[in-house]
Structure formats: C-alpha cells, structure tokens
Subunit: 212 residues, 2 copies
C-alpha cells in the first residue's frame, strides 16, 4: 500500500495511526502542501484524489480517499485488531466522536481555510488565531463532554477510531497554544495513546518529510 | 424512535431520509435553531447532545448523535434495504463521497459559521454569500468528479448514504442560488432521488415545523 501524506496533515496522521495499529506495511509518498502552490493541487495528484486533499491510500490499484472512509476500509479488510467496538451503540458512539472532530473542528481550522481567511477575507494574523481558538475550543468542549466516563481510551480498553482522530487534533491544539486545562479527559487519553508505538511512529516529527 | 430535527437542518434532513428509506416509524421533535437564541443550545437538549447540534436520534433510551454515525447505526440495526454497497471498495467510495460533503462543504457553510462570519469576523451580507459560494463551489467540483461514471444513483442501482448526503447539499445550494450547471451528474442524481417517496417525505417543506 502507498499512503500519500504530509507530515503535518492531521488527516494523513489519522491514516498513519490506523495503518500502524493494523501492523500493515506501507510506503509514504510525501505530498507537500505548501511547496510550489501545493503539490496536492497538481493534476497528477488530483487524478487520484479529485478533491485535491490528503490523504489518499492506494491499495491494489484502487485509490481511496477521506481518512474516516480509509479507516473503515482498513477495519473491514484487516479486522484485527478492531478499530470499532463490537456493539452497534458503541460503534455509533465512536463514529460520532470521530465526526465531532472531522466534521466540526478540523474543516474550520485546516490550512486551506486559514489561508482563505487571510488572503480572501482579509483577516490579520491575530484574527486568524482567534478564529482557530474559537472553533477548536467549541469542539473540544463538546468532545470532553462526550468522553465523560471514558476509561484508558475514548471507548473500551483498546484504541479505536475515536482515539485515532483525537491524537492529531490534540497535536494541532498544542501547536497553536490552545489552553488544554479545561479538557482533562482528552489530555489523559491523548497521553496514553501517544505512549503506544503505533501512535508514536505516526507522529509528524517521525515522518520522512518532517520539517520540510 | 425520536428524531430531534429542524426542517432546514441539512444534517437532520439526512437522518430523515435514512429513516424513511428503512421504512421506520419515528416521531419528529422540532428543535428551532433560531428561536430564543437557539433551542439546540439549551441545557435540556445539550444533555442529550453535548455538542449542541442537530440531529439526535433517540432509540431505546440511547441518544445517538452525528448524522453519518446515525446512518451507519440504522444500517447495522436494520440492514434492509442496505445503505452501503456490498463490497469494501464500494463502501469506501460511498463513505468518501459522504465525507466530501460532511467534512468539506457543510461545516464551512452551516448556520453557526455564517453567523460567526457576520457577528465576529464582521463580514457583510455580500461577503458572507461569497464565502458560501466559494466553499460550496469547491466542494461540488470535487463531488462531480467523484460521481463521474455514476448510474442512476451515486453508486449502483439504489440509493446509498452518498445520495442521502447529496440531496440536502443540493437543496442548500439551490436555496443560496448557486449555479448548478457545472455539475450535471449531481443535478441528475439529485432529481432521481427527489422523485422517490422516502426523499420527498424528508424534504424541509414536508416537515411539521416547516416555515417556522
């Protein structure tokens, strides 16, 4: 398998953790989001991923897009260890937690939106950061409430897709100096996860294109 | 089952279509997004849905949130008719299509973000509409490419979660007068779907709280 990835892309980070938890071999193909107007907007990449975003996973000649869909695909094609609970209500809870990140926080705070806020809307650096902090704070508040009563991980005794989405989101929050003290459950689960090899090896700083 | 819904909420619209396609009985509990500062931000609703957003589905005393997670739950607990294809690659394609709407278009163009753009960022009405058109256009362009080669529906011969996400997105685009001529495949599939009873009965104008 080939994963088109950028070290700081949090959606590629999700896919990397999932691949590592499954113990799968994969080749990283770096796609630089900033260089040369963005390698993800070039025709050859968009032929694989018509939205022109990361990540894309190539498996047996098929190009798969959208990180949550990729995780579901990996879980279906390589069921062990499972990334979702065994019961329908548990699976709904884990998926809702993922979507609270992937549909509510990340879309408002990713690179293309921050660039648009500056170059089209005309926001300054401080206003851009205020936007970032507002939507991240709103989102983390909801997640902390959703995680109430969680054990070592968001759901059950082993990592699920919920933890896979949480860790990159917390990485981004730290990078933008968001005060995390109101979210003790999230902080604790994030630390537990990052101590695991599968998460550590997926971290931005551990990537072949780190720092580029 | 009880669905907490607002007639114009496109995420509630998705859940309504899914419930109708499954032929399930459910009670609509209207939650007004504009009245009295937003009924979705009141403590009693947020006890069910800590994010304070629509929809919530109550089933057997359990509150389920996030429309895509709700659709997956309904598909697992009531498998007929299926809302996902039978093969893993097909399911990945359908889920990616859903997420291209739910993670890329809708989060940037929903009511709370448009309100924030005006009241916090200080954008005027025309600039707000430009923002709306920009992100909807970017998103529909990607979707049209993803739908290339589709038959009557986005995937296969019957509606899937992809069609369920598409129809409310197209409703929103029409409501904001987006030019849809660049997206002939999406327009065709949307029309095919809306002719079906399950989609028609879920439309905003067919809801008990329509026009409120």
């Amino acid at each position: 398998m080939k994963l088109y990835s950028y070290w700081r892309s949090s959606t590629a980070y999700r896919a990397r953790i999932a691949l590592n938890l499954k113990g799968l071999e994969y080749e990283i193909v770096p796609v630089h989001l900033l260089r040369d107007g963005g390698e993800h907007r070039k025709a050859d990449y968009m032929a694989l991923n018509p939205q022109g975003i990361l990540p894309t996973l190539e498996d047996g000649g098929v190009a798969l897009t959208q990180s949550l869909a990729i995780m579901e695909y990996l879980d279906e094609t390589h069921p062990t260890p499972p990334l979702l609970p065994a019961d329908a209500v548990g699976r709904a809870r884990v998926r809702a937690f993922c979507q609270a990140i992937a549909c509510e926080i990340h879309p408002l705070t990713n690179l293309r939106v921050l660039k648009h806020l500056v170059s089209v809307v005309g926001q300054g650096e401080e206003e851009k950061l205020a936007w970032y902090r507002h939507w991240t704070g709103e989102g983390l508040k909801g997640l902390e409430a959703m995680a109430a009563g969680s054990g070592a991980f968001v759901h059950g005794d082993s990592p699920t897709m919920a933890d896979i989405c949480l860790v990159p989101q917390m990485y981004n929050a730290r990078r933008f100096n968001i005060d995390l003290t109101p979210y003790p459950t999230l902080v604790r689960i994030d630390e537990t996860c990052r101590a695991l090899d599968a998460f550590a090896a997926a971290a931005p700083e551990a990537q072949p294109d780190a720092g580029t």
